[in-house]
């Protein structure tokens, strides 16, 4: 309590000081201020006395009051001489406060400041590391140019100090000295170079910071320390992590190749580019090809990730779990800029987590998310709901969330987003409502399907009471109408009526422009509007006046009979307007449209000038192309280059020599850091037990494991494939036969197990192999680079897969892929019983996928999947075969007719096989027939044109199709759960044909196995909007169970839910005589459940019910199944 009183006391005194201080600088000469000045003077005199007394406590009290002065921004510089004497005080707190003072005022009192230097020099030799460190801190913070040499010396000495804490301080001092005297740069770089080699986690962050400040372009200094920095990263304090990660992002951009290079080429549509995920076979061939024309297609080389690049990605990933938002953001931007497309997804979850944090953090994160969503929409789609807006969010956050939601909108989720927008429009926050209306406009332009819905919604808003809302809607409607004006003359009419009420100038101007532009659609109303406007012309805002002139001109040109006088009246009014723009415009228009004797050559073209077809405006996100700034940076946030921003370099064409990163002493990174760790945690028995082996490098994560398994798996495959593909397929068939013999259960277990052992043993052997390999790399000879490449190309396939392993759903799917072979056989057997030869024939026809491509893929998968399979519960694996249902006759579609194809005909069908290189793709089987008399060569695809989000995996080039022969190939298309067609060119060596593949909605899904209970539970969650019911009368031929099942499964790739139980145990809601058939599937891209129920009633009546989260898919599916069942 006493302190409080004391402070208050002081407060009163200070108030006086304050008043005095404020007047002194400006009006010290004026007499009035003199009195105050003197009190102030006296006050400080008082402090001086206290400082000069012998009592420590008095001195301390004085210093505390001085610090308070400083904190208020008051000037206390005249006390400098009295204070500087105390710099050598024994009392630590006093000393600290003196330091605070010194750092603040030394710059102003340079001569006096020099008095203190000798004290610091002495302290720099102190045995206590903290005294050394703080002496250096203060010494380097005194911005007096004269002591630069002393500072330089001190820094150099401290950089070699035994204590890492002092070394850290010296790293900080480097920046200070650099900003004080940039001429010292060269010497400072030497110190930085030395400190970069430091192995202490304490130093790493600070020295990289110094590096960024002093010499960010000296990338060569990083090479030798790169691996060490990567490995230390997890243990560095959080602020250092941010700095290091940002620096390493730039470093990686200069040193490694773009991991997405193949995809970007594909996107550009450079034809013939192949990707060889699955088949090692082809890769070998390709390898040969490459040697032949190595230089020419250097660009097309399959991408090989540098192991150092992988190291960086692996070691930063755990940091996504950091509690520090800045660290998470730093890792996120690193992944966004450096990781292969397939791996970027991991950051989404972490970023969404940050949205729970303080609103400032949200603000920054949302800005970055908005930029990311433009490039990688799919990444954030699962988190759509996290961006829903709460009424309590600050407006700036709302607007950003809206931006993200708009970017995420696509055909499948637009209905939910629009419904959400509808509630936003009712918000009290009008700025936010305006932003919502614009967002609706953008959704409408981007997604054609909902354009009319949006337009109708916006037109309804025109009757809103809030003028701002109406005005904003008018502006957006104007933009939308421009896309297809002919359909919407009634809306234009409606808007014409609004001119009486709307006062917001921008909206009025927009309406007038619309009427003028489309006056031929509203021939009656337009002149009347002009009449009204002419009447109120003088009272309008400038932009409205300009549009009135425009309207008049356009009407004069199209309907001069009715509007001639009006136009002249308007032009006359405009002639005498106050605004010169309007006068100019009027003069210009008059000359153009009103024919006079001397009318210029231009008036002939007046119509063309005014009534030219205007291109519809493109509503773009303000975040488009912002990603050329490094994400997470200040420059990105401001969308302008901030001072000191280091450009993110473009990827190099060819990777620089990776050997620069090799370090002389082979294993020092691993050993040293491992030792350090052990030292650190020596007390913990379990730690060293479980993971002492591999040390911090292995702070990696599960990914490294899976990567290595896939590695070894693919390695084994390539070995096998060398030995010959036939033997392999034989092996396969053998296992198949075995399987048939045994019970299914055993099969399930056994099949996966075998490869596990294999891969395990191989993995360990590989690991052993790897160590010497690493060493040998240091000796690296060029001839070796080939083998390195090999290894890399294998690992290249791993990312795409390891990514897939993340979601269990995908795993199960893969599992199916792995098993698809065996079951298909058993399925065939079943079918034989059920459907006689017919279906067998069909299947044989399709037995399709030219085995050289598919078989190796399957083995590869089964190997790498083995581990995953083990984790799955037994019951699952028993049941899974049932998910593959007897697919009836697959329908063939024509891609290229024999005649248009000049002898080449192509048919395609959806093979319903999982497309192994990418689980999100639908496999399309193409069957080429050469009906002509000459051979066709080099069949491949080119110029793929897709809707956004869709992807295509091309079929491998068919080199030769002899006359009269047939061949088939498989390609994959990710339709993004839409029925948009994939357009591309089919090219032979002579011709190009434009073709397109449009999937029936039923092919956009894959079957899943559900039990009846699961089915009902899921169905319960997909009620309301997601449920579509339809009554129908079954076709006469289609009244038995078998027929219904067959027709439904033909129409859509669904699996039947076993529903025998329905008859037995459950209380018969539908009477047992009229069975209910249930089918389940998931959409391929987004894995949304699709549930179909066909409930039969008497006399062939039936009810069809489809539950699907994706309403568009649901509706289309209902139509298709309806058709299938009624015909």
């Amino acid at each position: 309590m006493s302190t409080a009183a004391l402070y208050n006391d002081q407060g009163a005194a200070e108030a006086a000081v304050e008043a005095g201080q404020e007047t002194t600088p400006t009006s010290s000469s004026s007499g009035a201020a003199f009195g105050l000045f003197s009190t102030d003077f006296k006050k400080n005199e008082d402090l001086k006395e206290m400082l000069e007394s012998n009592k420590e406590s008095l001195k301390l009290e004085a210093m505390k009051r001085i610090v308070q002065l400083i904190s208020k921004g008051k000037n206390a510089s005249e006390l400098f001489p009295a204070i500087v004497k105390n710099v050598a005080s024994k009392n630590i707190e006093l000393k600290k406060l003196v330091y605070v003072y010194l750092v603040r005022y030394a710059e102003e009192q340079q001569d006096l400041a020099l008095l203190s230097i000798s004290t610091f020099q002495r302290a720099l030799k102190d045995p206590n590391q903290f005294i050394r460190a703080s002496a250096l801190r203060v010494l380097s913070s005194i911005r007096v140019p004269i002591i630069v040499p002393i500072m330089m010396l001190a820094i150099k000495e401290a950089a070699a100090d035994l204590s890492p804490y002092v070394r850290k301080t010296s790293a900080h001092a480097i920046q200070k000295l650099h900003s004080l005297d940039p001429d010292q740069k060269e010497q400072l770089i030497e110190v930085i170079e030395k400190l970069l080699k430091d192995k202490s986690t304490l130093v790493a962050g600070s020295v990289v910071m110094a590096f960024e400040e002093v010499c960010p372009d000296r990338i060569d200094l990083i090479h030798k320390n790169y691996r060490k920095l990567c490995n230390l990263l997890v243990d560095v304090e959080e602020w250092g992590q941010v700095v290091i990660i940002n620096m390493l992002t730039r470093y990686a951009r200069t040193q490694f190749l773009n991991p997405n290079i193949n995809e970007s080429l594909l996107e550009e549509g450079s034809g013939g580019e192949k990707m060889f995920y699955g088949s090692d076979e082809d890769e070998d061939e390709d390898e040969k090809e490459k040697k032949a024309e190595a230089a020419a297609i250097a660009k097309r080389k399959p991408y090989v990730m540098d192991p150092d690049h992988r190291l960086l990605l692996r070691n930063t990933k755990p940091l996504l779990q950091s509690r520090n938002a800045a660290v998470v953001m730093a890792v996120a931007q690193l992944y966004f800029h450096l990781a292969p497309k397939a791996e970027v997804g991991v950051i989404a979850k972490a970023l969404v987590r940050l949205l729970r944090s303080h609103s400032e953090v949200q603000f920054v994160v949302l800005q970055n998310v908005a930029t990311m969503t433009i490039k990688r929409r799919g990444m954030f789609e699962p988190y759509l709901k996290s961006f829903y807006i709460r009424s309590t969010d600050p407006t700036q956050i709302k607007v950003l969330k809206l931006e993200v939601l708009t970017n995420l909108a696509n055909e499948t989720n637009i209905s939910t987003i629009l419904r959400e927008f509808q509630t936003y429009i009712k918000s009290m926050d009008k700025d936010f409502v305006a932003a919502t209306i614009q967002a609706i406009g953008r959704c409408a332009t981007n997604i054609g399907e909902v354009r009319d819905t949006c337009l109708n919604g916006l037109v309804q808003l025109l009757s809103n009471r809030d003028e701002l809302v109406v005005a904003e809607s008018v502006v957006v409607i104007k933009k939308l109408l421009q896309m297809q004006p002919e359909k919407h003359s009634d809306i234009i009419k409606h808007m014409a009526k609004l001119t009486d009420n709307i006062q917001v100038p921008m909206a009025r101007a927009s309406i007038l422009w619309l009427i003028g532009e489309y006056c031929e659609h509203v021939p009656r109303i337009a002149p009347d509007v002009l009449r009204k406007m002419a009447k109120s012309f003088t009272n309008e805002e400038d932009i409205v006046k300009l549009q009135i002139i425009n309207l008049a001109a356009k009407l004069y040109l199209t309907n001069s009979k009715q509007t001639k006088l009006l136009t002249q009246y308007v032009l006359n009014l405009a002639k005498y307007d106050q605004n010169y723009d309007i006068r100019d415009r009027a003069r210009f228009v008059r000359q153009l449209i009103v024919p006079t004797e001397k009318s210029g050559a231009l008036s002939k073209y007046a119509k063309k000038l005014f009534l030219a077809l205007k291109p519809a405006p493109v509503l773009e996100s303000p975040f488009k192309d912002r990603d050329h700034f490094q994400l997470g940076s200040l420059s990105h946030l401001l969308n302008a280059k901030a001072g000191g921003y280091q450009e993110l370099p473009e990827w190099p064409e060819a990777a620089p020599d990776p050997s620069v990163r090799n370090v002389e002493v082979p294993e020092w990174t691993k050993c040293s850091s491992r030792e350090k760790r052990k030292e650190k945690k020596v007390e913990k028995p379990f730690y060293s037990d479980s993971e002492g082996e591999s040390g911090p490098t292995e702070s990696a994560d599960s990914e490294s494991d899976s990567a290595s398994t896939t590695d070894s798996a693919s390695a084994s495959v390539s070995e096998e494939s060398e030995s010959g593909l036939e033997s392999e397929s034989e092996e396969e068939s053998e296992t198949e036969e075995e399987e048939e013999d045994k019970k299914e259960k055993k099969n399930q277990k056994k099949e996966p197990k075998k490869p596990v052992q294999e891969s395990e043993s191989e993995q360990s052997s590989e690991e052993e192999d790897r160590k010497p390999e690493k060493r040998s790399k240091k000796l690296k000879s060029d001839s070796e680079s080939d083998s390195v490449e090999d290894e890399g190309s294998e690992s290249e396939s791993s990312p795409s897969e390891s990514e897939d392993f993340e979601s269990e759903a995908v795993v199960t799917k893969k599992k199916k892929a792995a098993e698809s072979k065996p079951p298909s056989k058993s399925v065939r057997k079943e079918e034989k019983k059920e459907k006689k030869e017919m279906s067998l024939l069909d299947l044989d026809d399709f037995e399709p996928t030219p085995s050289p491509q598919v078989t190796p893929v399957n083995t590869l998968l089964s190997n790498s999947l083995a581990t995953d399979l083990e984790g799955l519960s037994l019951s699952d694996s028993i049941l899974s075969p049932a998910t593959i249902i007897p697919s009836g006759a697959l329908k063939n579609y024509e891609l290229l007719h024999r005649i248009t194809g000049e002898g080449l005909s192509v048919e395609y069908c959806f093979s319903r096989q999982p497309f192994s290189p990418d689980a999100n793709m639908v496999a399309v089987q193409l069957q080429f027939t050469n009906n002509s008399t000459s051979d066709t060569k080099n069949l491949h695809m080119e110029d793929v044109r897709l809707q956004s989000g869709m992807r295509v995996k091309e079929f491998p080039e068919i080199e030769l199709l002899p006359a009269g022969e047939m061949t088939s190939a498989v390609m994959g298309i990710d339709f993004c759960d839409s029925t948009q067609a994939a357009n591309f060119q089919l090219c032979s060596h002579t011709k190009k044909f434009f073709v397109s593949i449009q999937p029936p909605v039923g092919e956009l899904m894959r079957p899943v196995f559900l039990t009846e209970n699961e089915f009902k539970k899921e169905q319960g969650q997909l009620m309301g909007m997601n449920e579509i019911t339809e009554k129908l009368t079954l076709d006469v031929k289609c009244r038995n169970e078998h027929a219904i099942v067959q027709r439904v499964t033909t129409a859509a790739n669904l699996s039947r839910v076993p529903c025998g139980s329905d008859k037995e145990c459950s209380p018969p809601v539908p009477p047992p005589d009229y069975p209910v058939h249930r089918f389940a599937g998931r959409t391929v891209t987004s894995s949304s459940l699709v549930l179909v129920t066909v409930a039969t009633r008497e006399e062939g009546a039936a009810q069809l019910m489809v539950n699907c989260e994706k309403m568009v898919i649901g509706t289309m599916l209902v139509k298709d199944i309806l058709l299938a069942l009624t015909q």
């Binding site: 008095l58 600070s206 779990q321």
Partner: protein, 418 residues
């Protein structure tokens, strides 16, 4: 990095400034004031404001703006996160972070800021290390200090920076060795007009208060760790161990800290513990509106819903409200139009209800927006996600600690649209 820091209070006075590099005139804050004027609400001030020579990055906490002055490129989150850490430290030291508290302890604040940043780059931000460097003020100590003239600065030089575990000081001693863990879960939800859930998710944290002697090594395991979808850890948690075994293994910092925050995987359906029946209508033409709100427990697993507080921002046209609560008290602020109803505990037998009329401005048309209802509540002794701690073990020390675990569920951002 960070050049200077200005603290600005709600009325726009700069009441503290600190410079780490050369002095930046406080007139730079004028740009901030400009932006503040443009923003209608205090929280709408943009966190990053560019000025001709500097950039201002600010956070708003406890109605104080912490404005950092930056001269060149730096990740904005870096600064924002740091500023929040400063506020957290102040709160830790002074109990509250208000203008008065900061002014009273200005010397400690200065000492702290001096330690936290060196040349604008964070130096020591761990509260354990800071507390060793600068003792937090307590009533007793301030008394003693004023009498004896001694100080807040630690007498011994700290060893913390170099201890094997950077977040824990050495030589900790307690007579009662105890470790408490609070599992606190928050439900964020948006409920639509008809009562169906638009989005709902559970975010949880485990806050710990560990007072153990020596260098204990703890492991904490869960019955159902698979519930945790996305986690972020205190740096003390060994990430590898979590990845491999789903066990939290760590050497705890001394005192209070947040061990873990997590997000419950979105596959699990979220149980919504309360429901709201509402009928808020405005009739066209008349200047009155009806307000009727009933709360009830929904999926609470038998636990009582406590500390319920309902708030709603009524439309601007509402002049006054005459309501009648069946329990608790309500207030309506005619200026901000904020209605709050402090319900207290929900009694399932007699559901709390708030009913009455709202008076609208005479002649004004019926507002077309509907108010949203925000609800706060607490449920003790339950983690709504079903997360359960299995066991807590200690290694490395010989004594038997006292262990305690508490569960609680709270409403996070829980909104009902009407």
């Amino acid at each position: 990095m960070i050049h200077s820091l200005f603290l600005i209070n709600a009325s726009g006075d700069i009441f503290l400034e600190k410079h780490w590099k050369s002095v930046v005139s406080r007139s730079v804050c004028d740009y901030f004031f400009e932006a503040q004027e443009r923003a209608t609400e205090p929280e709408n001030v943009p966190p990053v404001i560019p000025t001709p020579h500097h950039y201002l990055i600010s956070v708003l906490r406890h109605r104080i703006y912490f404005v950092a002055v930056i001269q060149s490129e730096v990740p904005p989150l870096f600064v924002i996160e740091f500023l929040h850490r400063v506020v957290d430290t102040f709160q830790d030291y002074f109990g509250v972070c208000t203008e008065a508290a900061i002014k009273d302890n200005v010397v400690v604040v200065y000492e702290l800021l001096e330690e936290m940043l060196d040349n604008g780059f964070p130096l020591a931000t761990e509260s354990n290390i800071l507390k060793e460097l600068i003792k937090p003020p307590t009533i007793l100590r301030t008394m003693v200090n004023t009498i004896t003239g001694s100080t807040n600065v630690g007498e011994q030089l700290p060893t913390g920076q170099l201890s094997v575990v950077p977040w824990r000081r050495t030589g900790v001693k307690y007579t009662n060795n105890e470790a408490y863990f609070d599992v606190v879960e928050e439900i964020d939800a948006i409920i639509d007009k008809s009562g169906s859930t638009i989005t709902a998710e559970i975010q949880g944290v485990i806050d710990a208060c560990v007072k153990l002697t020596g260098m204990p090594d703890l492991t904490l395991s869960f019955m159902n760790p698979r519930l945790l979808d996305d986690v972020s850890f205190h740096p003390c948690v060994r990430f590898k161990r979590w990845e491999a075994e789903r066990i939290l293994s760590f050497i705890p910092p001394d005192g209070n800290f947040r061990l873990l925050s997590y997000h419950v995987s979105s596959q699990n359906l979220v149980a919504i513990p309360v429901y709201v029946k509402h009928n808020i209508t405005f009739r066209e033409g008349s200047s009155q509106g009806r307000f009727d709100l009933t709360l009830g427990p929904k999926q609470t697993m038998g636990k009582a819903v406590e500390a319920v507080l309902v708030s709603s921002q009524l439309p601007r046209g509402v002049l006054n409200a005459n309501l009648n609560p069946s329990q608790g008290t309500y207030t309506f602020d005619p200026v901000t139009k904020l209605l709050t109803w402090d319900v207290g505990k929900i009694n399932p037998q007699k559901l709390p209800n708030l009913k009455g009329t709202m008076n609208l401005q005479a002649g004004a048309s019926k507002p077309d927006e509907n108010p949203t209802i925000n609800i706060q509540f607490k449920i003790q002794q339950m983690a709504i996600s079903g997360l359960k701690v299995n066991r807590l073990d200690m290694y490395g020390e010989k004594y038997k600690p006292f262990k305690g675990i508490k569960y609680m569920t709270k409403a996070g951002k829980f909104q009902v649209r009407t």
